[in-house]
Symmetry: C2
Subunit: 568 residues, 2 copies
Amino acid sequence: MSKNSDLQKLRHSAAHLLAHAVLELFPDTILTIGPATPEGFFYDFLPVQNFKEEDLPKIEQRMHEIAKRNLPLTHEQVTKSVAREMFANNPYKLELIKGIPGDTVGIARQGDFVDLCRGGHVENTGDIKHFKLLNISGSYWRADRNNQALQRIAGTAFYTAEDLALFEKRREEALMYDHRKLGKELDLFSFHEEGVGFPFFHAHGKIILNIMKEYVRDLLNKAGYQEIATPMMLSDELWRASGHYDHYKNNMYFCQVEDKTYAIKPMNCPGAILIYKERPRSYRELPFRLAEFGLVHRFELSGVLHGLFRARAFTIDDGHIFCTMDQIEPELVSTIQMIKEVLHKFGFEKIKVGLSTKPKDAMGSDELWDRAINALKNALDKADLPYTIQEGEGAFYGPKIEFLIEDSMGRTWQCSTVQLDFFLPQNFDLSYINSEGKKERPVMIHRAIYGSFERFLGILLEHYKGRLPFWLAPVQVRILTITDEQKDYAHKILEALKAHHIRAELDESSDQISAQIKRAQLQRIPWMLVLGKKEETNNTVTLRNLDGKQEFGLSLDAVLKKAQQETE
Amino acid sequence: MSKNSDLQKLRHSAAHLLAHAVLELFPDTILTIGPATPEGFFYDFLPVQNFKEEDLPKIEQRMHEIAKRNLPLTHEQVTKSVAREMFANNPYKLELIKGIPGDTVGIARQGDFVDLCRGGHVENTGDIKHFKLLNISGSYWRADRNNQALQRIAGTAFYTAEDLALFEKRREEALMYDHRKLGKELDLFSFHEEGVGFPFFHAHGKIILNIMKEYVRDLLNKAGYQEIATPMMLSDELWRASGHYDHYKNNMYFCQVEDKTYAIKPMNCPGAILIYKERPRSYRELPFRLAEFGLVHRFELSGVLHGLFRARAFTIDDGHIFCTMDQIEPELVSTIQMIKEVLHKFGFEKIKVGLSTKPKDAMGSDELWDRAINALKNALDKADLPYTIQEGEGAFYGPKIEFLIEDSMGRTWQCSTVQLDFFLPQNFDLSYINSEGKKERPVMIHRAIYGSFERFLGILLEHYKGRLPFWLAPVQVRILTITDEQKDYAHKILEALKAHHIRAELDESSDQISAQIKRAQLQRIPWMLVLGKKEETNNTVTLRNLDGKQEFGLSLDAVLKKAQQETE
C-alpha cells in the first residue's frame, strides 16, 4: 500500500472523527458526506444553527479528546434494509444507500459513532494525532446549487507532527505570498469595480508580461511559428459552426453589430482556422504553425473570481499546428521539449504529465487514436517526462496531455496543455494539397505553454514569493548612495546600466542607507548597488542581494558580466 | 491672389462647364450644387435617368467642345425675386436662394448657360483646358440621407497639362499601391466576412506591427513613460461619467455582464485615469506618463469601412501625461520632438501642423488657454515645425495640435495628435499633493504618434509602394542559389544572418535564378543574396537590391555591417 493511500485512510478517518465530535457537541446535526481530499478532508453538515468560526477550536478540542479515548475503528457490511433503519432520520444517507450498487452497504463504527462508509480507515482513533481544522464554508448537497445548502468544515491530517508543521508553514506562506497581496505591494496590477474580474496592469506588471512574451516569442520564432493576430470579436455564426457556442455560450459575451450578433472570442482557434483557410494550402506549407498571444474573454460568476488565477479576461499563448498524420510525432516532440524548456526556465523542475486517452463516443478510428497516443507517449519519453495515463478522459475529438507543475510551496498547478484535434479540421473542411495533387485533411494540434499569461504570472509571484529572478524582475538594480556626494557617480553608473538594457533605478532620496536598503528589499529588487566614498574613489560598486549577501569592490564590467549571466 | 485660390476659380469654373455640358446632353437634368474641392470639383445632379459610367467620356467630350467655343464667363447680381423666376422649376436653387442673406444673389453666365453663383471664375471657357472627369457616385441633397438622393459627377482640373498628368500618374499609383491590394499580395493581412471591418494579421503583417511597437516602446522607455494595459471592457457607468457615452454611444459596442452593461472601450483614457487614481499621487510622481498600446473598437457603418484606413477595431499608441501647469511646456517639447523623430524615421519629411485654439463655450479661463497655447507654440518652434492656427477649432476642453504628413504620392494624412485636457481631470476629480502638502488638480495631455497602428501601416504600405525599408521589411533578405550545389553554403549564410537577428530566408527551390529573383521582387524583399560557384569559392555573396543594383564579392561581415547600418 502506497504512502498516499495510507494518507487517504488517515484523512478519511479524521473526517469520521470530525463528524463524531460535531455530533457530541451538536447532537441534532445531520451528516451528509465526509471524504478525504488531496489536501486533507472535509465533512458537509446540515446543522440546526450555522457553525461559526469560533466553534472550530471547540470541535478540534473534542476531536483530540475522542482520539485519546483510543476507540477501535471497525467496519462491517450490513443489508440495505438494516442500513435504512439505522439512518431512517437522515434523508441524505438514505439517498446515498439507494445509490450504492448491490444489496449491502458498509458501516463504520468507533464507540457510539456510526457512519455509512465504504471502508479504509486507521485502526484506532488514537492513530489520528496530527490534524487541524482549517475553515468553514458553504456547500450544496451533491454540489448542486438547487439542492439543500450545507456547511462544510475542512481540515487536514498527517502521520507526523513534522508533516503537519510543514503544511501549516506552507499554508501561512501561501497567505503571505498571495499573488493579489504581492500584486498590490509590488505595484504590479490592480482590480477596479469598473471592470470586475478584468486586471489592470501597472507598469511593473506589464514589464513582466512583456518579458514573458518576448521570451516565448523568440522560442516560437526559432521553432518556425508564424505569429498572427485575429479579431477580438467574430460573428456568432462562426462560433456556432465551431461548436463553441453550444459548449461555452454561458461563458461568452455577445455584442450587436448592425443586424448581426458577434461574440467576443473565448478562444483563439477559429481565428487561426480562418487564416489557414485564407487560401489553398500545399503540403509544402505543413506543418503550418500559427501562434497568437490572444486575449480571450470568458464570463465567470463574480463569486468564483480569484485575482489573476480566475479572471474574466486573459491572454493565451496559443499555438495551432496544422500538420499531416506523419508530422504529429515530430511536432509533439518539439512542442513538449519547448514546454519543458519554458517551465524549467521559470524554476519549475518537478513536472508531472497526464495523458488522456480515447473516451466512449469518440470520433475517429481506433487506429487514428492509437497512432496519436503513441506519438504522445514517444514524445514524452524523448523529453524524459514521466506521465500517467488518464484512461478514457480525452475529449471526444482527440487525446490530450496536461502538465502539472509543483511550486516552491509544494502546490501543483496545471498550465501547459497539448490537445490533438480531429474535429475542427473536419468541421471547417480544412484541407491541403498533398504531393500527388490530391486534397487531404490536416490534423490540428492546439497547445499552450503558459496557458494564461496572467494566471502564470500569479503562479510565478507565489512560487518566487514575490522575489522574481533577476531576468524577470521589473526593476533589476537599484543604486543606493551612502551620501549625496556619490549622486554624480551614481548617475554615471545608472546610465551605463541602462545603456546595457538593464532595468536600473537610482534612489534619489537622501535617506539613511539602511532606509534605502529596506525600501529596495520591500520592493524585492534583486540587486542593490551601494555606492560610498570608497566605491567612488576606486571606481567600483558594492553589490548587495536581497538576502543581504554583499560583494565588495566590483568593477562596472564585472557587474555587467554578472547581469549578462543572470539573463541568459 | 495665391496660386491656390486661382486653382479654386479654375475648378469652380470647370464645375459650371460640367453642368453646362450635362444640360446640353440631358436637358431635363436638375442642377443642385457644384463646388471646387481640394482635389478638384464636383456637381450634384438630379437626372431623369441615372448617369452611367459610360456617359462620362461623352460629357467630358462635350465639356471640351464648349470650352473651345471660348464663351466669356460673366457674373452679375440680381434681386432675389428675379432669381426666383429664373430658377422657378428648380426647388434646390430656390432653397439656396432663400438661404442667402441680403436682397440680391449672384448669377453666372456662359453662353446660354446660367447658374446661381457667388462668383470667382476664369474669364473664358477656353481657359479650362486640362481637366478630367473621375467618377460618378451617390450623394444626398445637403448630405442628409433623409433628403433626395442625387448623383455626383466628380472631376479635377489644372492650369497645365503637366499638373494634370502628374495628378493622373499619382491616381494610378494610388490604385496600384492601394494598401488592401498590397496587403493581399504581400500576405500581410486579410478581411473575412466573419468579422466585417476587423483585420486579421498574418505573420508578415504582425512582424511589421511588432517592429513598429518595439521601436516606439524603446522611445517611450527612454522618455520615462510607464507602459500599462487596461481592460477591453469597462462598466457603462464609467463611460457615462467620462462623457464618452454621450458623444460616442452610436460608435460603441455593449455587452451584458451579470446585471450590468459593459462597453468595449472606444478609447483608452478612462483606463489610464483609473490607474492614476489607484492611489494618492505626489507632485514627485509628476509628470506621470502612461503609455498603452490599446486596442479600441468603434462601430462604423459597413459602407464606410476602408481596409486598414477605416476599420472597426484598431490599436492606438496612446499616451496620457498627468502633469502640473508648469510641466505642460517641457512635456509638449519632448512629445513633439518624439513625434517628429518617429515621422522622420518612417520617411515623412514634410510635416504640417494645425493648432486649434479656444472655441466659444470653452471651459477654463482665457489665461489658462493662453498659457497652454503659448506652450504649444513654443514647443512647435523648438521642434522647428511650422504651424497654422485654426482659430476657435479646439475642443471645449483644451487646445489641440494635429500633424499632417505628406506621402510619396503627394497626399496628406493626419496621424499624430496632441490634445490638452482640462476636463477629464476635473470630471474624475484627479489630484496630486503638491510640495506644500495641498491637493492640486493635474492637467492631462493625450497624445498619439501613429494614431492607429493599423491605419499607419496602411499609409506606410502606400507611401513606400509596398517596398518597405530594410528595417521594417518582414523578410529582409532572401538567399538565392544559382544551382543546388550552393545550398549547403546558403544554409551556412542563412544561419549566420539569423544569429544576427536578420529576418532571412532561403529560396529552397531549384528554379532558375531569374525565376527566384522575380519571386523575391514580387514579394518586395529588399535584399537578395545571390550565391553561385564563384561566391562559394571566395566565401562571398552578391547583394542584389529591389532595383536590380548589384554589389559583388561582399564578405558576410560586410553584409552584416551594411544590415546594421540600415537598421540603426
